[in-house]
Amino acid sequence: MNAPVTLAVTLDRLSMRQRAEISTIDWDSMSENEGARLRALGLDEGVEVEKLHKGMFGFNDPIALKVGRMMIAVRKSHASAISVVIPA
């Protein structure tokens, strides 16, 4: 049988209130420090996230994510380096 269908997008394109799992993060697109901070706030490969809020009308930036029981604000520039898969 076929494997369950998954849809891969980057975090900035994820729709609101959508749960997804982080598949890969493009660590090379950011500095060492930024990567470390991302991981320190719980954003890492294999983590489940949910997109909760987006910034001011007209910009939709930054975005607020639910990571575990925390809410984390991330800029689109970082979110676009984070690929997620939406479980089927």
């Binding site: 950011m30 420090n33 991981r39 706030l41 910034g55 009308f57 910009f59 930036d61 930054p62 520039s77």
Partner: protein, 619 residues
């Protein structure tokens, strides 16, 4: 040496309730200082262990990781490793965890435990976790971590005895320190382990959206969110005027009564003039603004304690990004509305050095509370107190406009700085937004009391001294009886002001303003006291002396001059303490001197443009 009190440090993620636990353990007796060479605060206090021995407790800056991404986190790391200059190696480490946020907070705990240092875990905010529908098993957590775990509710002082007993036991055991090896793979492993242990500890969890999330659906709404933020700020500035009327009246009444009492009980002469004109007149005219300053601080403290401040940062981030800053700069800048000094100190949480420098340099443009007395007296005297709409007073509107003027100025300056002296890549914005909390009245009152006290102490020292010196310089030398020259023009201060006047005359400033600007360098509020003192001395007779400062200003200043004076104070760097704190935070004289120069230049230009435009418009 063995008799020295053991050093216990509190470490943990931000928002884990570390400071609440620190306050609960040490009471109100705490000492705040800086670590040598860095601008990171060291908060210490003492508590008693069950055997009666005292222990020193240090509250370390909140950290997400031992791998530092800011100066704060670097200090936490080196203290824990025993490498911090000016700090002993801690004898035990208390790691504070938010019981409702274990999978995130356990990461840091695991990192510290891996060092092999003596650790006790405070599983804090147990009550809130239960309210969220979580049932936790501390024994399972203890077994998984291999270190003692004590459930606590710091704000209700629950679990404190158990915690100090656990620390005491822990102190008697020997441990070996391990090295830290940092890598992406290690981070990855830590997170997985944290998640596993969190799952083990959480016995049951009932689903359901929390009210904090429902509140965010409104406060972080892309359209409603910014409108609410603007409305909150608008209400805040209206309240500063509307709520302060009555208490200001009481203070004015009290100082009039004091002046009358002195007049009745002292013979005419130097001492009586000194007390009435110098001390009561000068200091009184500043103390009158205490109610307005307290109202402003009340709002800022409430916004901070409720957790709304981080939402404001979220909403503002995109706008801040357009001038090269991030939402992180919003909190220091908003604090600068109260005072630039805590604002500049709050920039320590900004990781990017260029971002931080820019924020420090524009912080003085945020309208601080010390400018309020100046704005209030000028607005009160020259802007009619009429309503321009339901519940919207013209005076409040002008004040709001001055704040906006400062903000816009700061944005433009930030943009220029980020593309010139503070050039660098655009930094990111990564921030935790904690759950909303009901502010605790006790903490708010304590904060208000501290702020109010600082203001009154300034009034009693710097402002008093500046006022007295100015009064003496205005009173001496005494003008000869038959001279046509006025006392102020004849006095030492008046002569200095007459030299400065030609420089500021093009922007509409008269001699009295030139006179007020000098002592206002010590503290902006002194400008008001200085004007009050000048006009008290200059009064030709008793009747004129009885006129209020407002009436005197109205009769001596034109509207364009008053407006130019307001514009000047939006930009002028008139506070030595701000320059001093900038020197400390930037480790040198280069940036404070730069700040002084650019702010004076801007103030001059802004006042000039305001004056010339107002004159051209025939105001």
């Amino acid at each position: 040496m063995s008799e020295a009190a053991p050093l216990i440090v509190l470490a943990g993620n931000p928002n884990a309730g570390k400071s609440a636990l620190f306050n609960a353990l040490t009471g109100a007796r705490q000492k705040i200082a800086n670590y040598p060479g860095v601008t990171v605060e060291r908060k210490s206090g003492h508590f008693q262990m069950p055997d009666g021995r005292p222990a020193e407790l240090v509250d370390l800056p909140g950290s997400y990781s031992l791998e530092p991404t800011s100066p704060d986190e670097a200090v936490t790391r080196s203290v824990i490793l025993g490498e911090q200059q000016g700090e002993r190696k801690p004898d035990a480490i208390i790691i504070v965890l938010d019981a409702a946020n274990l999978d995130n907070h356990l990461r840091f705990a695991l990192e510290v435990i891996a060092l092999g240092r003596p650790v006790v875990i405070a599983l804090n905010m147990m009550d809130l976790a239960e309210r969220d529908g979580l049932t936790l098993d501390p024994a399972k957590l203890e077994a998984a971590l291999g270190v003692p775990v004590v459930p606590t509710v710091a704000v209700r002082r629950r679990g404190l005895e158990d915690l100090s007993a656990a620390i005491e036991t822990r102190l008697s055991k020997k441990t070996d320190q391990q090295d830290v090896v940092v890598s992406k793979e290690r981070d990855h492993g830590l997170r997985k382990q944290a998640k596993k242990i969190a799952n083990l500890t959480v016995v049951s969890e009932t689903a359901g959206r929390r009210w904090s999330e429902r509140a965010d659906a409104m406060f972080l709404h892309p359209i409603a969110g910014p409108i609410i933020l603007l409305a909150i700020m608008f209400v805040m500035f209206q309240a500063v005027f509307a709520w302060s009327e009555a208490p200001i009246g009481w203070i004015e009444g009290a100082s009039e009564w004091a002046a009358a009492a002195v007049e009745a009980s002292l013979p005419e002469g130097f001492l009586r003039d000194f007390i009435i004109e110098g001390a009561i007149g000068g200091v009184g005219s500043v103390v009158v603004f205490l109610p307005q300053i307290l109202i402003l601080f009340l709002f800022i403290l409430l916004l901070e304690a409720s957790g709304y401040m981080t939402r404001a940062a979220f909403i503002m981030d995109r706008l801040m990004a357009s001038v090269g800053l991030s939402g992180r700069s919003f909190i220091p800048l908003l604090s600068s509305f109260a005072c630039a000094i805590p604002g500049i100190m709050a920039t320590r949480s900004i990781a990017d050095p260029k971002d931080r420098l820019t924020t420090i340099l524009v912080a003085p443009l945020m309208t601080c509370a010390a400018r309020l007395p100046v704005y209030a007296i000028i607005i009160g005297a020259f802007i009619p107190a009429r309503d321009v709409g339901p519940g919207v007073g013209l005076q409040g509107l002008v004040l709001f406009g001055l704040y906006i003027f400062g903000i816009v100025g700061a944005m433009v300056v930030a943009l220029v700085l980020r593309s010139t002296v503070a050039k660098g890549p655009n930094s990111g914005f990564l921030m935790e937004m904690p759950k909303y909390q009901m502010p605790r009245i006790r903490d708010i009152l304590l904060g208000l009391w501290q702020r109010g006290w600082i203001f009154l102490r300034r009034a009693g020292t710097i402002i008093f001294a500046a006022t007295v010196i100015l009064w003496l310089m205005l009173t001496y030398p005494k003008v000869p009886l038959d001279s046509p020259v006025s006392q102020v023009d004849y006095s030492a201060a008046g002569r200095i002001a007459n030299v400065i006047e030609p420089v500021v005359a093009p922007i509409g400033f008269n001699r009295d303003i030139a006179l007020a600007l000098i002592p206002a360098m010590a503290a902006r509020e002194v400008a008001v006291a200085a004007l009050a003192t000048t006009y008290a001395i200059d009064a030709p007779d008793e009747e004129a002396e009885a006129k209020s400062l407002t009436e005197r200003l109205q009769s001596r200043w034109s509207l364009p001059t008053a407006l130019a004076f307001l514009a000047w104070f939006v930009f002028a760097p008139q506070c030595i303490s701000t320059i001093a704190v900038t020197r400390r935070e930037t480790n040198g004289w280069k940036w404070p001197m730069f700040m002084l120069g650019y702010l004076f230049a801007l103030a001059y230009v802004a006042a000039g443009i305001t004056y010339w435009s107002a004159v051209a418009l025939g105001l």
